[in-house]
């Protein structure tokens, strides 16, 4: 649901793997030269690190700064895209919390549903994600039917069918809740 680009993630992993392999080849340079490069008739010029003088430490500092900036940027921007607005058109804005309350009210009394959380995401399109935590051994068809009914009621009240993903899941509440409600 988030804005993370999954193809870019895969490419980043491949790139990092190639960097690791390059580092391994550099460390095993004599073996790589003897068993891989020489049979192919290839020769790699010596790097001459010792002749670089103060360039080497400066280059290492620059590399480290770039690596930290990239790592920080990826870590901080990971999973972005969630905002609290379920609908925003023609000057009318509907908060996701309002819709969440509406759905919760509709599911009130449904013993098998322990919790509902609604989040709005804005990636390529605006999408809502409803996470429904259910009891162990819940009648899944019944939960699905009840959620669908709650969504239909919400659609009616909103006058709009917003793109919605419902994720029926378990969580900490499921672990601590029994299979049936005790009164």
């Amino acid at each position: 649901m988030t804005r993370s680009n999954r193809i870019l993630n895969r490419l980043a992993l491949v790139l990092l793997a190639l960097l690791a392999l390059t580092a391994a080849a550099f460390i095993l340079r004599p073996e790589v030269e003897r068993y891989v490069l020489e049979p192919l008739g290839l020769a790699v010029p010596s790097l001459g690190l010792a002749e670089l003088g103060t360039v080497l430490p400066i280059a290492l500092i620059v590399l480290a700064v770039v690596a930290v900036i990239v790592a920080l940027a990826v870590t901080v921007t990971r999973g972005r895209g969630a905002d609290g607005t379920a609908l925003d058109q023609e000057g009318v804005s509907v908060d996701a919390g309002l819709l969440e309350g509406l759905l919760r009210r509709e599911l009130d009394g449904e013993d098998e549903v322990l919790h509902l959380r609604l989040r709005a995401f804005r990636a390529r399109h605006r999408v809502l994600l409803a996470e429904v935590q259910v009891r162990r051994g819940a009648d899944l068809a019944n939960v699905h039917r009840r959620v669908a009914r709650a969504v239909a009621t919400a659609d009616e009240q909103l006058g709009e069918s917003l793109p919605l993903v419902t994720h029926i899941t378990t969580g900490l509440r499921t672990r601590f809740a029994g299979t049936t409600r005790t009164h």
């Binding site: 793997a17 460390i27 990826v74 051994g137 068809a141 669908a148 069918s161 993903v165 994720h167 029926i168």
Partner: protein, 187 residues
């Protein structure tokens, strides 16, 4: 929600994003560079090194036989893990339920729990006597019957198949049940 959007969202919900793996890998790559940068700053300032000067670090790593092979093996191992992460499908244990209005995705443990419920109900057992494991295309239901009471495997199979039909799971699943030979005392 149009079909293209539904397909894209279903795919995103059923596959890992790998952004955590990317973040961890980037920090793993940055750590040796941060160390070398600290040594570089100390060298430029003329202060004594934490361990060795950057050039000496390179010479030590590439010059000591055991260290050389150890570090290279670690780098190759990291590269292999990253390539596996990049090229495997990264499927999450989730299935889609048929619904026209919205995309409904259900965790496999919830699905397993629902099948166990259907199986136990048909066999006349308590829910904890049925356990189910759900894979991408099949579900294995295991029942522990009460000693002295026979459980019809065919009835249980029919009940779980009926439940799966009712749910209209995608990708479709075939359920198979197994009644354990050793029963237990009690209901």
């Amino acid at each position: 929600m149009n079909q293209g959007m539904r397909r894209r969202l279903a795919r995103r919900m059923q596959h890992r994003s790998r952004s955590v793996a990317v973040s961890i890998a980037l920090w793993i790559a940055a750590l040796p560079l941060i160390y070398l940068a600290v040594e570089s700053v100390l060298e430029l300032l003329g202060a004594s090194a934490l361990w060795q000067r950057p050039l000496q670090v390179v010479e030590t790593v590439t010059g000591t036989e055991a260290l050389r092979f150890g570090v290279a093996a670690a780098a190759v191992l990291i590269a292999a893990v990253l390539l596996i992460l990049a090229f495997t499908p990264g499927r999450l244990g989730r299935h889609e339920l048929a619904d026209e209005r919205m995309l409904v995705v259900v965790d496999d443990d919830v699905l397993a729990s629902a099948l166990s419920r259907a199986a136990a109900g048909t066999a006349g057992l308590q829910r904890d006597r049925a356990s189910t494991s759900v894979g991408r295309r099949r579900a294995d239901v295991s029942l522990r019957p009460t000693s002295g009471f026979a459980v019809s495997r065919e009835d249980v199979d029919r009940a779980t198949e009926r439940e799966l039909e009712r749910l209209d799971v995608s990708p479709s699943i075939r359920a198979r049940s197994r009644v354990e030979a050793a029963g237990v005392v009690g209901r």
